[in-house]
Structures are given as C-alpha cells and as structure tokens.
C-alpha cells in the first residue's frame, strides 16, 4: 500500500498547486480583459479598467443623483482596489477568493454574487446530475450488450439511432421535444419559473418534475451516444483478449464473461469519461438551460457574459474550475484503487 499512499500524497500537493494557479490565472484573465477590448489609447490602465468594470455614471441635471452615483463608484473602486497597484489588487483579490467573497453584481443581477450562485447551483445539479447518471447507466448497459452482439442487427441499429441522436444540436432536439409535447398533449412547455410559481408542497415538486422532464430527456438523449460509443469501443478491445477466450472455453456463462472479466478491464477509460462528465456538471448545459429557461448556473453564466457582469463571470470561472479540479482529483485517486498497475508505476 505504500505506493498508493505516496500516490495520494503527491496528488494532493499537485492539486493544491493547481488551485493556486487557477486563482492567479483567473485574476490575470480579468485584468487583461479591458485591454483586449479596444481600450482607447491615451487612457491609463486604471482608466481603462474603471470604464470597463464600473457602471456608467452619466451626467444628470440632478446634482444629488450624480454625487450619489459617484459615491457608489468610489466605493466600488475602493472595494476592488481599482486605484491601487496591481500587486495590492492581487492580494485583495486573493483574500476575497479564498473567503468566497465574490462581490456584487455589476450589470446583470442584483446583490451579492455568491447568493446568485447558491440559488442557481442546486437547479443545475439536479438537472445535470440526473441526466449524467441516467446517460451513463443506459450508455454503459447498452454498450456492453452491443459489444457482445457486434455486427448483429441489435448492435447496428443501436449504433445508428444513438449516434444520430447524439449528433443533433441540443437546441434542435429541444425544439423538437417541445413541438412533440405540444402536438401530443396540446400544452406548451412551461419553464421552471412558471410551473412552480406560488406552489407549495406536492404541487411544487410536481411542477419541478414537469419542467425537468424535457431538459432531462434532451440532455440524456444527447449524452447517451458518446458513452455508448466509448464503452462499446473499449469493450470490443477487451473482448478480443485471450483471457476472454479462455473464460469462454472454460464454459462460463456469457454474462459472467462479460461483466466479471471483460467489463472490469474496460472500466478505466469509461471511468475517466464519467469523472470528467461529473466534473463538467457545473460548467455544462449552458445551451440546454438557456433554451428551456432553466434557472441554473449555465444560464447564469450566459446572462453574465451577455451583460458584461464581471464579478459574476470571475466567480463562475473560479467555481467551475475548482469543481472540475476537485472531481479530477477524486477520479485520479480512485484510479489508483481500481487499477493496481497504475499506482505501482
């Protein structure tokens, strides 16, 4: 077990370094943004930065209003350290990020960014979590079956159908589903806000389920194809190995051969894919959520970028990166448990 413990320790150090890297990269990315977007020459860096990040304070004939807005601007400038040097700003930013103090919305929403994220995250986890699990369960199962019956009708038709659906653009499939729902039931799709408006208890949950169904279906259908494909490819590779031939020659039932011997060895790449998929839960489904009006993080990101809401963008960037990093880390550790060959290398 010594090899495993060292492996885990190395991984932890490595992840910590990467976290710091990510935080720093995030900072520099948003520091550079004002310059990439055509900052007029002649402005100092701070001016560019201010014009980019701070809300407009237009001229107003109401002196009080102007002073008030100017006051706000100064306050924000102080908060973000806009009048300081970059070094000071970086320290401020670092401290903020580590305490999850993401600041306030500039353009898009209202109030603290952290609150928006906390509000939106559960919805995204619900939608993407359920659809990722569903697509993997179905995809792995079908993949194993198809690999076993390679070349036969079942395999070919599964391949054709799943791949075709996998290739459909998400919003296209979403529209098809909505049209389908309308032509079958005569009812338009209701986005989440509408379906849970002023409902409590059982109504609330059934409203969620109603609005969840179509996006869940769309995402699952899209993702099953690639899981199926990967699983099938890897299984085919493994099934051609000699020990499978041996197991069959021994007279073991096909199911044991498939699931006990073949599947175990095929699990590594599929496990990698699954870990990545989970990690991408928070960052994914921007399009799906936007199309269905699902109030999750994907749509929040989209709105933040469209509205140039930088504190939100910055916070989301960090959150997603850290999430993915965490999951990759966990995946790597479990790697070590699953494949004894890896940890001893």
């Amino acid at each position: 077990m010594m090899g495993l413990r060292r492996y885990v320790a190395r991984r932890i150090v490595y992840v910590a370094v990467l976290v710091l890297f990510i935080i720093a990269f995030n900072f520099f990315l948003f520091q550079i943004l004002p310059f990439i977007t055509s900052c007029p020459s002649g402005n100092t860096y701070n001016q560019c930065f201010e014009n980019f990040y701070l809300p407009e304070v237009g001229a107003s004939h109401n002196l009080n209003a102007t002073l008030f807005l100017q006051n706000i601007r100064n306050h924000i400038a102080k908060d973000y350290g806009l009048n300081e040097t970059m070094g000071v700003r970086f320290v401020l930013y670092f401290r903020n990020m580590l305490t999850f103090n993401f600041g306030y919305h500039i353009n898009g929403g209202d109030g603290p960014v952290l609150a928006t994220i906390q509000r939106a995250a559960p919805w995204t986890i619900l939608l993407l979590g359920s659809s990722t699990i569903a697509s993997f369960v179905v995809g792995i199962g079908l993949g194993v079956i198809a690999a076993a019956k390679r070349g036969k009708i079942l395999d070919v038709s599964l391949l054709a159908v799943l791949l075709f659906v996998n290739s459909l653009p998400v919003f296209f499939l979403a529209a098809l589903l909505q049209v389908g729902q309308f032509s079958i039931s005569g009812v338009f799709y209701q986005p989440l806000g509408a379906s849970i408006f002023l409902t409590t208890g059982l109504d609330y949950y059934s409203g969620i389920m109603q609005s969840l169904f179509l996006p869940f279906l769309a995402l699952t259908l899209i993702n099953v194809g690639s899981v199926f494909l990967t699983q099938r490819a890897v299984m085919l590779d493994v099934v051609a190995e000699d020990y499978i031939l041996m197991a069959r020659a021994k007279g073991l039932p096909e199911r044991t051969v498939l699931f006990k011997h073949a599947f175990r060895n095929a699990v590594l790449p599929i496990f990698t894919a699954f870990a990545l998929a989970i990690g991408f839960i928070l960052s994914g489904a921007v399009i799906t959520e936007t199309v269905f009006g699902w109030p999750g993080l994907g749509r929040a990101i989209y709105l933040a970028v469209i509205d140039f809401d930088f504190p939100m963008e910055q916070a989301m960037f960090l959150v997603i990166s850290l999430m993915v990093l965490l999951v990759v880390f966990i995946a790597d550790i479990t790697y070590g448990f699953l494949d004894p060959r890896v940890s001893t290398s």
Binding site: F25, T37, L163, S167, P169, L229, D237, P269, Y302
Partner: protein, 497 residues
C-alpha cells in the same frame, strides 16, 4: 461506407455552393415569407397553395414580345439596342417619344394632381388558380430629354375581369418611387420602379388603407386580367409641344405563390435552399479543422505522457489538467465576445475560433488516450518486448500505437461532429462570429426556432427548421461512421471477428 457517401455529398454541396445557391441567401427576397417547398404541393395539405407565376416578363427582345403590348397616346416608338452604360441584363429597349396637345385634358387623378396622361402600354394575361400571396410589378425605365414637362410619374394598374381598376401606385408613401427624374440634357439615369404588395418591407409599398390583403382583393377569380402602365406628366398651362422621351427596357409582373424552390423560404421570403448550401461551407470548415487539430495535439500529448511516465508524465499531466479545468463554454463565450468586439481581428476570426476550439478541447482527448496508453504499457508483451531489448521507437510503433490508434480515430470522428455542433451552438447563443452577410446552419436554426416551436398553423416551418438540424446531425454521424471504418482497418483484432 455510408459515412463516406454522406460526407462526400455535403462536401460537394459546400464546394458547389456558388452554383447551386443561385439566390443570394441574405439579400435576395425571392418569394413570400414562409413559402413551402415547391415539391410539397403534392401533399393534400399544401395542394391548394398558389404557385409562382410570371405572367408578364417583357424585355422587348422579340417582335412578338413587343407586339403583345397595346399602346395608346400619340407616340413614336422603336425597338433598339440599349447603348452602353445601361442596366445589366437587358439588351433591348423600346424608345418612346410621346407628345400631347397643350390643351389635353388632365387626368384628375389623385395620384398626380394636375397631371396629363402621355401614353399607356397595356397587356392582358390569363390568371388561373388561387390568389397569390404577394405580387410585384417592376419596370426599368430611362428618361431622355423632355420638353416642357415638370414632373413625370409612372402609374401602374391592374384591371380584373370584372373591370375594376386597381392602381398599384400610391401617393400614400414616398412618391419618389414612382417619379422619373427629368434629365437636363441627353440620356437620364436608369430607374427601376418596383411596386410590391404584401408584407415585404421594400420602399414604396403602396398602402391600401382599407385593404389588408391586396392580392386576395385583386385576384379574386380566374380570367383575363389587364396590366397597364401609364406615364403621366405635369404640363405647364401654356406650354408648347410638351413631350416625353423614354426608354423602356423591362416590364414585369410576378405573382408570388406560397410555394417556392427546393426548400421554400424563410420569414423574409429568402431562399432557404441557398442559405442551406452556403451555410454548409462554414460548418465543414470549422468542424474539420478543429477536430483534426485538437485530436492531433491531444494524441501527441497523451501518448507522450502515458509512455514516458515518471516526471515527464507528471509535468505533462499538470499542464493537461490545467487546461482541462478551464471551463470550456464560459471561456469560449468570453473570448468570442471579445473577438467580435475587436475590429482588427475580424478578418481572421475563423482562425481564432478554430484555435480556441483546439486549445480548449485537446486535454480531454489527451487524458483518454493517456489512459489507454497506460493500460497497454503494462501488458505482458510490452514488458517482454522491452526485456528483449527493443528500443522506444520499436515498442511505440509495434505495440503501443496500434492499440491506441483505434481510439484516436474514434476520437477524431466524435470530435469533428462535436465541433460542428459547437459552432452551431455559438450561433444560437447569438455570439456569432460571422459577419452580417453570412449564413450558417446554426443561424438558420436560430432564426427558425421561434417560428417552429409555437406555430402549428405554419406547420412548424418544417422546411426551414428541419434541414439544417438534420444536416448537422447527418454530417456528424457521417464522420463517426468513417471513424468506425478506420477503426476496423487499423485495429487488427477487431477484424478477426
């Protein structure tokens, strides 16, 4: 095999786009909005729809053509070639010299108060079937030196079999559309007078205050209709010998039905087939280049990391993980939004888009390939091979690569499709990196989506909505099929079964 066929089909369409898509996908309005494809009129739902007709299409090139018009007024006319500098596409015109007597009656036409009719040309045509969705009358004219006339207008009319006279020219909107500028001397400027009914926002649309659907009001029954074009001018009270000289190069009347072309029209009446054909170019370009780039980069890094192991693997792994955790879509959206805003980068924007796709996607591929390489590396025969003294190159070539290439090809296949989809998704999110005058499949889907989802009476605009979506899916699928075929070629163990 099937995949190759599909890919070749789309490649051909993309390459031949200039020939196949004869209509300008953005600017040309070829039909009424939401025309169904012409071939779909065989279905009962659509069989009653009016089709396009061109009852009048006169270029005066033949004697029969010129002779079909009935002229009135005091005129001398002759057909002659148009001198150089004329409008493109027309070679002959009727040169008309028309005079009126100074005491001729005024028309008392509200269209041109104080105007006198100089000459008219009219022609009858047969109309059958249902009323068209829209119609359009066009005339291409050139004024030549005129005498003692102050304002010249073109008035177009349609007279239905019952004798009702409908004036297509209207004073309600800018009368400038119908006014011919009088040249100071010699040949004047060619002018195209266009009168259009219906929903299309062209200039000079006559506004019928009490008529909501002009074509339905005018074309109520089959029969013989009369189209008349009259030139009116304002003559000064005591002028001597007022005259108008004019060349008429073209007169046309188009009745646009509700069925057009291979794939119908979109909400502005533009040809969907042309849009489809031109859109294929960009999808293919970005998808293929990004896919190849990303997988090439990912495979190299993955194989290097997996095979070298040890410290190299650590370093490569760290770099890979760093790129991996960068959130894909948000970063993409941010960078693209910035690119679109920066005018200097606009010309090379496709290159940037491909670069960003590659940079953001190679880590995932690298990780998968590395996993496979690790798995292969630890197999007994590799160890045996190394024990026998094979060098790195040999082991790579003979053992590692063959077992990895299959995965590489399937990754290429999957990813090209993914990039085509991603590009369509960017279009849908309205972060399009394309100029105003380009159209892609993603944009087609974006525009048609609102009409498709909520409009059962428009049949969910299936002819506009389905083709791009299905095309994207088919193209992606095709690449995957090709990937499979390659897989079975390069992976000998798969072949045995």
């Amino acid at each position: 095999m099937t995949g190759l066929v599909i890919i070749v089909f789309f490649l051909l369409i993309a390459a031949l786009a200039p020939i196949l898509g004869t209509n300008d996908p953005i600017a040309a309005t070829v039909g009424a909005p939401f025309d169904v494809p012409a071939w779909s009129t065989i279905f009962p739902t659509y069989s009653k729809l009016p089709v396009d007709q061109h009852p009048i299409n006169s270029t005066f090139a033949t004697a029969a053509d010129t002779g079909s018009w009935t002229w009135s007024g005091t005129i001398n006319k002759s057909v002659e070639p148009i001198p150089t500098g004329g409008p493109i596409g027309y070679s002959t015109a009727v040169l008309v010299n028309s005079t009126v007597s100074p005491t001729a009656n005024q028309t008392n036409d509200p269209f041109l108060p104080g105007g006198t009719a100089f000459f008219t040309m009219s022609r009858t045509f047969q109309f059958t079937g249902n009323a068209p969705a829209t119609f359009q009358a066009t005339a291409v004219l050139q004024p030549i030196e005129m005498q003692n006339v102050s304002t010249v207008y073109v008035k177009m009319m349609i007279i239905d079999p019952k004798g009702n006279n409908y004036s297509l020219s209207s004073t309600q909107l800018s009368a400038l559309n119908f006014e011919i500028a009088i040249p100071s001397s010699g040949n004047g400027v060619w002018k195209e007078v266009v009168v259009s009914s219906g929903l299309l926002p062209l200039s000079g649309i006559p506004v019928y205050h009490n008529i909501t659907n002009p074509p339905a009001v005018i074309f109520t029954q089959p029969g013989t209709y009369n189209f008349t074009m009259q030139i009116q001018g304002v003559v000064a009270p005591n002028a001597t010998a007022p005259s108008i000289n004019m060349r008429v190069a073209f007169v046309g009347l188009y009745l646009r039905g509700s069925a057009y072309g291979v794939l119908g029209t979109d909400n502005f009446g533009r040809d969907v087939w042309s849009q489809f054909v031109w859109g294929s170019q960009i999808s293919l370009l970005i998808g293929v280049l990004s896919g190849i780039g990303a997988v090439a980069l990912g495979a190299i890094v993955g194989i290097a990391g997996g095979y070298l192991g040890g410290n190299w693997d650590e370093i490569i792994g760290r770099i890979t993980d760093f790129f991996l955790v960068l959130p894909f879509l948000p970063l993409l959206i941010i960078v693209v939004t910035l690119l679109v805003g920066n005018a200097a980068l606009y010309r090379t924007i496709y290159v940037w888009v491909i670069l960003i796709f590659v940079i953001l996607s190679w880590p995932g591929i690298a990780k998968i390939i590395r996993a496979q390489v690790l798995s292969v590396k630890e197999r007994a025969y590799v160890e045996a091979s190394r024990a026998l003294g094979s060098d790195t190159g040999h082991v790579l070539r003979k053992h590692i690569l063959p077992n990895v290439m299959g995965l590489v090809y399937s990754q290429v296949a999957l990813n090209v499709g993914g990039f085509i989809l991603l590009e369509a998704a960017l279009d849908f999110l309205a972060i399009s990196v394309h100029g105003v005058r380009t159209i892609t499949w993603g944009l087609m889907l974006t525009y048609s989506l609102p009409y498709a989802v909520h409009n059962p009476n428009l049949s969910y605009v299936w002819w506009w909505f389905l083709p791009p979506g299905i095309a994207i899916a088919l193209l992606s699928l095709a690449f995957v099929l090709v990937g499979f075929a390659l897989d079975s070629i390069f992976n000998p163990r798969l072949r045995q079964r």
